[in-house]
């Protein structure tokens, strides 16, 4: 394991019942880098993302083979608490999903459950919202419902909520697919900022987004990892013909 790898996947197979969704995946994710997972629908990229913080545990009849090491520790080992893993490996989903609570309480909900003292909460709220570049827009309406925010603001709130747990890794599952171009640009800008402190793994259908914001890109097809390389390489001269066909729109 290279010193800079925060997550290492070794020979992972994943099954939904009898259906194998991922086949023999081995790859590493580098610390403080943005890695994009791309591929057509059903290729396994979101499945892989959800494996990284054990979100697939919540689906009945699923089975994992192989190892996923987070900072050298297998997150699927029996003694590991999935809740602990999800605290360290946060997630942001496709559609913004704020709690139907105030903006303030959206941020404090998780930390409170984790025993952060009340005195520390206001500072944590401000810090998280600043990191998500939302503070200036909401600092005067913290007691208002998060549901009143725009889609783009709600998504940044969800990022702030994930950051409040002080994770090491942030998983993003098509975080801008429901957003307009301006909100998308803000989230992309935010990702660039966040990678200084966090490792980010993002699933996206938007090729240009992957090209713009990621350092590494992994291309999946039919549950296989076809090519994993520097983003610049993938989008200018990929090594594998299948990757070239997909990113240039010659698929199917």
């Amino acid at each position: 394991m290279a010193a800079n790898d925060i997550i290492r996947i070794h020979r992972v197979n994943f099954y939904y019942g009898a259906v194998r969704a991922l086949t023999d995946i081995s790859m590493q994710f580098e610390k403080n880098k943005v890695t994009a997972l791309i591929g057509p629908s059903g290729c396994g990229k979101s499945t892989l993302l959800r494996l990284l913080n054990r979100m697939n545990d919540l689906i009945d009849g699923t089975r994992v083979e192989g190892e996923i090491l987070f900072e050298g520790r297998n997150i699927y080992a029996p003694q590991v608490d999935p809740v602990e893993i999800r605290r360290k490996i946060g997630m942001v989903f496709q559609k913004p999903n704020p709690f139907p609570k105030t903006i303030y309480n959206n941020i404090t909900y998780g930390p409170r459950l984790n025993g952060v003292s009340a005195a520390d909460l206001p500072g944590l709220v401000e810090q998280s919202l600043r990191q998500a570049v939302l503070w200036d827009e909401v600092k005067d309406i913290l007691d208002k419902s998060a549901m009143n925010l725009s889609g783009g603001q709600q998504q940044r709130l969800c990022i702030a909520r994930a950051l409040a747990m002080k994770p090491d890794v942030l998983l993003m599952d098509e975080p801008t697919s429901a957003l307009d171009p301006i909100s998308t640009a803000k989230i992309e800008e935010l990702v660039e900022e966040l990678k200084r402190h966090y490792t980010i793994i993002i699933v996206t259908h938007n090729m240009q987004q992957a090209a713009r914001i990621s350092d590494q890109t992994a291309f999946f097809y039919l549950g296989n990892l076809i090519e994993y390389n520097k983003t610049e390489k993938i989008f200018t001269k990929p090594d594998v013909k299948q990757t070239e066909d997909y990113i240039t729109g010659r698929f199917g």
Binding site: F235, T236, E244
Partner: protein, 235 residues
């Protein structure tokens, strides 16, 4: 890579047939531009050898068509960059096409330079029979044709051949230079004509540089590697 390589990498069609058509139009445009520039060089050289002023003037007039086609191809490429955001082979194809059209346009300008020198040389008695210049023009014409064929077929071997031919053209240019130097030393009345002929030779040599530039871009398009500033490959 397939035996054909290069653009044959694009044998699988785009999901967007419009995009496919736009790329094909650029290819067609470049082939036509290549035909026009090669013809311009041939005519410019014929005007010099046959002392045909009208043909030389025709080359100068027809350069407008080359310039227009160059602008048109460049605009098409820029439109694709803006609207299609091409990647991988498409990106390399478009960047190569932009460079090639620029090279061809400059080649057209050099054919005009040769035609202008021909017009001046026609006004004076012929200094000497032209032997090396037509050979040089022949090599240069081959280089343009081969460089464009290598582009269309993605043929790396042909691109290498173009780079090797450039050396032969350089050698001829040197030889012509030395020969004319002796003419000038022997007879000062030959200086003006010698300088004109030297410039014709220099223009042919620069056309060969442009053809090599096209071949280098073909290598980039096929392999993703930039070979522009490397030395000539061994034969």
């Amino acid at each position: 890579m397939t035996a054909e390589g290069g653009l044959a990498m694009q044998e699988k069609h785009h999901t967007s047939l419009h995009f496919e058509k736009e790329l094909q139009e650029i290819k067609d445009g470049l082939i036509y531009l290549g035909v026009l520039t090669e013809k311009a060089i041939q005519q410019a050289m014929t005007s010099l050898e046959a002392r045909n002023a009208e043909l030389a003037r025709q080359v100068i007039r027809e350069d407008d068509a080359i310039d227009r086609l160059d602008s048109e191809i460049e605009e098409r490429c820029i439109k694709i960059l803006a609207l299609r955001q091409p990647t991988a082979i498409d990106l390399r194809f478009i960047t190569t096409a932009i460079k090639i059209t620029g090279h061809l346009e400059r080649i057209g300008d050099m054919a005009v330079n040769i035609a202008e020198k021909a017009l001046q040389l026609i006004e004076e008695p012929q200094l000497k029979p032209y032997i090396d210049l037509p050979r040089m023009a022949q090599l240069v014409g081959d280089m343009i044709r081969n460089s464009l064929d290598s582009f269309i077929r993605g043929d790396l071997k042909l691109a290498d051949q173009v780079r090797r031919t450039e050396q032969a053209v350089d050698d001829l240019n040197e030889q012509i230079f030395r020969e004319l130097l002796t003419f000038m030393m022997e007879d000062s009345k030959s200086i003006h004509r010698s300088l004109m002929i030297m410039q014709v030779s220099k223009n042919l040599e620069r056309i060969a540089d442009h053809a090599k530039g096209i071949a280098d871009m073909v290598t980039y398009m096929v392999t993703g590697e930039c070979v522009r500033h490397r030395t000539c490959p061994a034969p």
